[in-house]
Chain length 326, copies 6
């Protein structure tokens, strides 16, 4: 649950909030649902007014809520104070220790049944940081997916504040377990260096990518690795460039600069673009531009959750800005 102050005000200045329901998985699934895929969220929500609101809003986003357990008492939340220019946006989390998701106990058949319904499963590094029970569910689910021959997508999404002190060390083995099972991985050079501890002599980001991605793909037997490089410019615009590594080839997309309305969720939009592009069997050059355009558009949309259709994104691949559509 995202709770956001109006405009660019802080929590101390205001007495009103807008709320919505999102999360990395929700965002990827919502985007895929816009592309015409059926999207199922495996999660848990409390059987109270907040859970009810969450379920209703997930349905609204186009997700099937059939695999959402109603158990536990709490919903994970974060407060967002949107920044402006030199004042960064600020996220404040509420206690997630006892959330329905973190305390839910999924049965084996339940998970197997969920796997049976889908072609692709998406896992996120943020949930990997939660607790042992969640990690055990994730691993079980990934193995079951492998067993049933489903594709596995894993987005590293390493968040330092969630792993805390000595986080890289504590995270490594968990990341490795999922990497070994994954077909498609969202990752950058830092993940390789810091989480996986892989060495490189290169100093420049792109050079590091070129050295590390083949090594990662080889070591963990990963078919495809993709991600983005972002630069924040002095004039408040961002510059973004996608990349994808597959079959020994690293393809760097074109860099675009643009103004940002809502930063959160852009990575998930990129992931959704990669997944959809691969599922459609597009050439990798097109996949990476489609995904990057999806990410760019996600910066123009209020809230965490990407809402663009394939048509919207195709248009954005070619043009930066448009006049009123009427």
């Amino acid at each position: 649950m995202r709770l956001e102050t109006p405009g660019y005000s802080t929590l101390a200045q205001e007495n009103q909030l807008k709320y919505s329901f999102s999360g990395s998985g929700v965002n990827v699934l919502s985007a895929l649902s816009r592309f015409g895929h059926e999207a199922y969220l495996i999660s848990a929500l409390p059987d109270n007014a907040l859970g009810e609101a969450a379920v209703a809003n997930l349905r609204k986003l186009g997700l099937s809520t059939r695999h959402i357990m109603r158990s536990g008492q709490y919903v994970g939340m974060y407060f967002l104070e949107k920044g402006f220019g030199a004042r960064a946006s600020k996220v404040t989390y509420t206690d997630r220790l006892g959330s329905s998701f973190n305390t839910a106990s999924f049965g084996d058949e339940q998970l197997a049944a969920a796997v049976a319904e889908v072609d692709v499963l998406h896992f996120c590094g943020i949930t990997l940081a939660m607790n042992d029970q969640v990690r055990s569910h994730m691993l079980h689910l990934a193995r079951e997916a492998k067993r049933q021959g489903r594709k596995i997508v894993f987005d590293c999404n390493y968040r330092p504040t969630l792993w805390g002190k000595d986080g890289y060390e504590r995270a490594k083995s968990h990341y490795e377990q999922l990497l070994q099972l994954a077909d498609v991985v969202m990752m950058n050079e830092k993940d390789a260096m810091l989480v996986l501890g892989m060495p490189t002599a290169a100093l420049e980001r792109e050079q590091q990518l070129k050295e590390l991605l083949p090594a990662v793909a080889k070591q963990y037997d990963i078919q495809t690795i993709a991600g983005t490089h972002r630069r924040i410019n002095g004039d408040n615009t961002h510059s973004l460039k996608g990349y994808i590594f597959s079959k020994e080839r690293l393809i760097m997309g074109r860099e675009h600069s643009f103004s940002v309305h809502d930063r959160v969720g852009a990575g998930d939009a990129y992931a959704s673009g990669i997944i959809d592009g691969l599922l459609r069997g597009l050439p990798l050059e097109q996949v990476v531009e489609f995904a990057a355009a999806a990410a760019r558009l996600a910066h123009t949309i209020q809230g965490d959750t990407p809402l663009s259709t394939r048509e919207d994104i195709e248009k954005a691949v070619h043009n930066e800005t448009g006049d009123v559509e009427r």
Copy 2:
């Protein structure tokens, strides 16, 4: 009636709208009323709560509502979802077929009486696209204006979606009828080429203008033709340049680049500036800069309707931005 989602959200994301009452004619008249002219709208609105709200808001904008008939049942509406950067603004129309305006039947004396009260009549190409009855009223009104020696302004405002398939062909004769009666026409090179089917070998916009405007003026016996050229830049700014053709001279104004708050209604602001400048007998060079500054300011104003005074516009002719006025 314009119904607009908050901020940059879409209709599917929100549950609130802001509404206002506008339209090409309303915008031009409201702007002229700010310049000190008396402004009368000839239109029709239903005798219900929506019509009441529309009439009250037109009065608020400074229009005389004396020539607004209260008949029919419906008001034409559009929904506006404001875009951001690469995500274009989107307009969704409601059914206008049965609107009070489209079904109203104005009496001949009624129209003659309205003409008798004014110096200048403004016609808009959007209403020309409505239906035969509306077109017949427009033509009747224009002929009556001619008969009584009033000035006629005609803004081409060709909207492809309203004319539909084979639109240019279907529109041509209707446009020609009004062009032959008009003294001042708002038009660009595309109108000449596509609607009127006039040929040009030039490839560049400005060159096309130079060739076509004299030809149009001659063929339809038009005293003054004016318009703007707009470019949308990569950094979300727009660039605008006004032009005016009169007495064999084509004057191209200076180009200005600026950020855009609300795109809709800027063309109407330009038209109002041309009309006011001509009525005041300003030199054409000043007319075109005044009108272009009016258009630029209209981009900075919330809603379709220009609200700037002559003083505001004169200031904007010379300066792009100002500090707080206090």
Copy 3:
């Protein structure tokens, strides 16, 4: 689509609206979905931003949108100005003639497939007033339902403004066609007298019911007829009493008086309570009290659409008001 002014203001006073998506069918289905039933809406919506918003919100309400065609261009809307005390609430409709629903052309197999998925079909007298095409679809659907052995619920919902002049006469045969196919009918003594033209010497409402319902049930071979009697009291409260006729027995429920927050949709809540109660095979005395409590609660809920669970309603059957639940 319902567009509502804030608080008790009129359209002429405000510049903001809240919107939601409802309708008699939506309300009944949403209520049944809260009771645990699967609910499918058969309708049509345009493939534009408004249609997208509508579909998303219907999903949010818990409806399956699988049988919603995306065709046509427009959505039916109404504006609501909430009244206070002696100032009645006011509804202003937009043009529905060209709405997606009124222009949609459903295929026979499409309708047959929809019928095949459900146990009960709900028809509403409001849609019966639309046009011949809609009526023909309704009749086709009802016959198909009969053929496949489904239960048919028909809510008379006669709206004078929709049928216009000589409405009762024009409506009669259409109503009769559906009554002959229906198993459960929502109706009151006025429907019998005015639409069906059935005579009664009784002067008092309840006495009229007692005479007419058995006659209607017999003539059209209807298993169950139900409805409510409402009184509006001087102190702004409403009094409501449910009734149900079945197997020769007319059961009058208890009358309750209560304050009203949102009047619209209460009849649909009553219908949903009747349907749920009958499906669960409750004794008729309980069915009528359950439905009346559902209707009472619907008056306390913002918007047209009932949101109460069975537990909420059971509580309301027994208590009028409660302290904070914490």
Copy 4:
């Protein structure tokens, strides 16, 4: 200018306000304009953004703003915190000493020209409390009206806080000057006793009226005197009863009890009902019920300004509450 906190919150609790432009004269004129009369406000407003907003909103209410001078710098304002039950609504005024209205200097021909355009002039005791210049303008205007044979309505509206210490004594001569010129006076027994110092032995309100109104009418040669008696009941409802005295007859209207949405401006609605009823030459019994119903409806309308049409009021004369109009 009225600035109002949301809901029932106080200024210290909130950071948002709604604003509108009203005043006793504005309210009476707006109501009369709804009844089909032309309504002119004689006042002054500054030539700045606030004055612009005020003028636009007065136009929106249907007032002609032709006789509003644009001079001075300030607009009188008040803040309204709506109370609930035992917590009374609270009005906080801003400084009015230097307002445009209080500092404006109207020319004699200006006032004479304004008088020439109207049939009836309405004066209010609130403005009488402002300062000597305002009072001198009022007196001049009233005498000019008399000279030109116009009807004069004077609403006593004595406000203790505005007259301050020894207010009754200071006010008396000013009230007497206007009473001697007035044809119709809005007044109650307290005005007669406290402002005019007229004696009565009666202890009960209605008895005091019966004794004092004939005496006032005789002494100041007033044709018609009207007003209301209000009781505030324990259950938050108000009870209101109108009365009118004319040609030796005191007619007491029926008492009605009702819930209150917005208390301010109800007296002005009553005055507008009296004026309209008298202008139409209705029997006094009807005048008083029409005016009382206008006042009742004004309690149901957001803001100070009555917005009901004659049809709305006629309906309210007969029914207290109605179901949704659709």
Copy 5:
């Protein structure tokens, strides 16, 4: 932190919330601060944006925040969906286990220093339900207060959901420890029967009070016990009656009925009235009516926190409702 949906909507219907910072202690202290007392809150808040907002808002309410530790990470929150009539208001709590308050570790000198600054300490049964550490801090503080000769007020505020299964048994010893130290206790007959397990043969609430309060006062050596009896009526009004027991006398206040705007925090307003009345040495009859009027007014104020001054309350002791104060 209280997060509240707009109007009477549910979390699933809306996307906006209003928030404020309250709590039983905050409410009592804020009320006392309005009465002219200095008020210190002993609590803990995180050193992040939420904590900053909380501290700023507590200052706004008039509390000294000097004794608020900045430690831990989370703030306790609850969501409020305001009910209407038969639909009860609903409170949904977030996880409080890890809140700053529940994890804070106060030093002994810190608490002793806080005690040294005040005359009276207020303890609340809600915090008693938190955890052992909190309870230990409370006991330490109460003993230190006793040692330094301060008055101790204890409000039982037993909340079944917080104590859970076998709550009464688990709570008893903790309540007894504080009762033995308290000078003034807020309590009703149920607390005595259920928490303290004291027997009574009486069946009627008031009779139970008469038997149990003297017994409680004697057993735990309490000087004064006070509380309220509330009835919720069929017409949505509440009836409230205060009582106080001291020096062998049980004084029952007058019962008042009234409409309710915001139910939460009324008990705290009553407690603040008792404390202020006792500190001022008013006769007990006046204390109980002052406190009951404070509680009544708290029902008319938006939010949990009472904001009335002594003058407001004195007025409310005598009158139920008032006209606009202007």
Copy 6:
């Protein structure tokens, strides 16, 4: 009190406002309070609902309200219409003549006691423009501060509209009195030339500074003079450069360009940075960059009042923009 229209709308377009309580002194004190200083405002506010709201909000900002007198009746206000691009923001003041601040009569001991509690006093040229009584209080306070050995900061803040015709001449002696007492002065070359009438042959701003500041410092015996140079660029960004003169050295800071969210209060943020930097004894180069960063951040914050902590500002000294903090 600042009353602000939503978004970029004008007062004539809207019916809602946001309000807050600010002022040059409030802004400086609030910023210093964020830096850990205790901050006391010496002012006057009415004892009514507006005064109550003001006091509550000043407490919320972290100011001690102990030295705020409750006297008089009115609060000074201004309306803000935020501009966009070429349309400048517009401030409209209400009447301040009779405000509590302008009519308050502070006692000598009262002021002496206030001085005794603080290390530094901040005076503002805006209040110097009010009236003789205010100026006399300021002078008394400054002399008392000198007597007690406190530091005096004086911000020239010359506002032409407040001093009116012949303002520079009328202001000069009042400015000189304060300059002679001040230790730190906020001032630019225009103040020296226009208010103090000091001559310079230089034509360029920075050159003028270099000539005039040493002269001013010498003539009035001022230890430190600081200020900023602002340029408004064509693309709506502003460029700002701080400077400080002390001990014969003029240090020009680096120039930064940035987008502006809220222009008002940036000068006060700069002053607060200078004061804090000097109090901490930072090198002047660091003082000026710290103050300039504080000013830049103030442009990114909603409202007049700076809210940044030292940590926020230190970060902004080094980076222009940052990604989400999470």
